[in-house]
């Protein structure tokens, strides 16, 4: 699929809210999520502008987003580890979703964030993709570059863990 600029703008309109949501529930900060989501589209455009074809644009964008989130975790690793020992400044406590206009949605976002906070990263990514972003097992397997069986097993374990947390 060859994508021109007008098509890419439409793709942005359709998928930017979803990519933001994916990033937000992974990094727990609105500003960081917006920054990562912005870069997802710039990186994707670099790829497209280089003349390379993209067969599955949605999967491709999520794949970039996932890699950038991992990159974000890696870069902030020291800070995260340090913060675990610093009760005054725990890095994993998510920002309150004050940017969400509706109060009921704000509360909902905060409650989900609270639960996801305690889930380890590799489980969190799969839960967010499956339930928050409503992606199929097949789509998740494409994004994470692993088999559908593997995804199903990991999802099952993630749900068990999630149940144990609540």
């Amino acid at each position: 699929m060859v994508i021109d600029q007008a098509t890419f703008e439409r793709i942005y309109d359709d998928l930017a809210p979803k990519i933001f949501k994916f990033c937000y529930f992974r990094v727990s900060s609105k500003e960081e999520a917006e920054d990562i989501a912005s870069h997802v589209f710039l990186r994707a455009w670099d790829h497209v502008a280089g003349g390379k074809e993209v067969a599955n644009i949605q999967g491709f964008l999520y794949r970039i987003a996932n890699n950038l989130v991992i990159d974000y975790y890696r870069k902030n690793k020291d800070k995260r580890e340090l913060s675990l020992n610093d009760p005054k400044n725990p890095i994993d406590v998510p920002d309150k979703a004050e940017f969400v206009e509706r109060i009921d949605q704000q509360m909902l976002v905060n409650q989900v964030q609270d639960v996801l906070r305690d889930l380890q990263d590799n489980y969190k990514e799969i839960v967010v993709m499956r339930f928050v972003n409503d992606l199929s097992i097949k789509e998740i397997s494409y994004i994470l570059g692993t088999s559908e069986n593997n995804i199903s097993v990991r999802l099952h374990r993630a749900l068990d863990k999630l149940k144990s947390l609540i």
């Binding site: 912005s38 670099d46 890699n67 950038l68």
Partner: protein, 354 residues
């Protein structure tokens, strides 16, 4: 205890939680980025051309003469086909240019080509000094020709001639800026070449500035003598809108540059000054002083044009210049090299992402 977490996750999946203000601003940034990094047509179509190779091969044989001309387009002084480009291709092109204004525009475009070539050549370590000297002389001659054609065009339409003169001044200024910036991080061999080229450009810029100022005065006088207040009002309002749009467009290109880069700093200074001129024009228009408002708008247009040409000069620079842009500066140089494009994340993270 949160027993309804799965229901909550499902609800979150359906909800829209994105900040729509961010969505809109980010889209504008993305569009500006796409304009600055357009699709490489040749790469995008490479597979298509591969399939059509036999047909293309036959076409190439038929178009061989045209091919030589095309191949000469990106040559530099000293290259085998450079003589063909300036002696044949450009001479043929010039025969199709009719009218004083078109001739002036053509010569300014030709000056831009000479500037791109000399910038690239001056930054090259292996350039023969005699070739560089000849190219500097050719540039000087070309600027003289361009100035003469602008003067002729001004006899017929001084407003359009002023636009062309402003463009010429902006192009010269832009390349002087690029050379001055890369000269800081160049080695001693190329430093001298660059300095000589910078002085070649400097020697001509004062003449162009005088031409611009004299055309501005001529236009001002013409407005006062030939136009009614109502006509001036219409013209001022139209130009005000055009300048504000042009300013907004260039801003979109500037905001995606690296915040610490020299080019962004320079561009922000220019555009800030342009915005002030536009604001002054608005105040003057509010007091019905339209001829002075037009003057302020003209100053703004000049600053916007300079910024636009500066961005183009950096974007369209050749391989040698780009290499200097991205190479680390010597330790004794405190000023960082100009960042060409948006180095927002490292190359490593880009590779990881893709």
């Amino acid at each position: 205890m949160k027993p309804d977490i799965f229901k909550q996750l499902e609800e979150i999946g359906k909800a829209s939680i994105v900040d729509h203000g961010w969505l809109a601003v980010n889209k504008r940034r993305l569009i500006a980025y796409m304009h600055m990094h357009p699709i490489h047509i040749h790469l995008a179509r490479s597979r298509f051309w591969f399939r059509l190779a036999p047909v293309v091969l036959a076409g190439i044989i038929l178009l061989i003469t045209g091919g030589v001309s095309l191949a000469s387009q990106n040559t530099l002084p000293g290259d085998f086909l450079y003589g063909w480009k300036v002696g044949f291709v450009e001479t043929v092109e010039s025969t199709f240019v009719v009218g004083a204004q078109s001739r002036a525009d053509f010569e300014v475009a030709r000056t831009t080509k000479r500037l791109q070539e000399i910038t690239e050549l001056s930054a090259s370590k292996n350039a023969d000094s005699s070739v560089v000297s000849k190219a500097q002389k050719r540039l000087q001659d070309q600027i003289t020709v361009a100035s003469e054609t602008i003067a002729k065009a001004a006899e017929k339409d001084s407003e359009k001639a002023l636009e062309t003169a402003v463009k010429l001044g902006a192009v010269l200024n832009a390349h002087q800026n690029v050379l001055t910036t890369i000269e800081k991080s160049a080695d001693s061999e190329t430093k001298t070449q660059m300095k000589n080229t910078i002085s070649t450009i400097e020697n001509t810029t004062s003449d162009i500035k005088n031409t611009i100022e004299s055309l501005k005065e001529q236009n001002k006088l013409s407005w006062i003598l030939t136009k009614t207040d109502a006509e001036l009002k219409v013209e001022a309002e139209l130009k005000f809108k055009t300048s504000q749009d042009a300013l907004d467009n260039v801003w979109q290109l500037v905001i995606i540059l690296d915040e610490d880069s020299d080019i962004r700093l320079k561009a922000e200074q220019n555009l800030g000054a342009a915005q002030e001129e536009i604001n002054n024009a608005e105040t003057l228009m509010g007091s019905n002083i339209y001829n002075e408002a037009l003057d302020e708008i003209q100053n703004a247009a000049q600053l916007i044009s300079e910024t636009d040409e500066l961005l183009k000069a950096t974007q369209e620079s050749g391989e040698v210049v780009r290499e200097i842009f991205v190479s680390p500066a010597p330790t004794d140089i405190l000023t960082p090299a100009l960042d060409l494009v948006i180095p927002t994340k490292s190359l490593d993270s880009l590779q990881d992402a893709l």
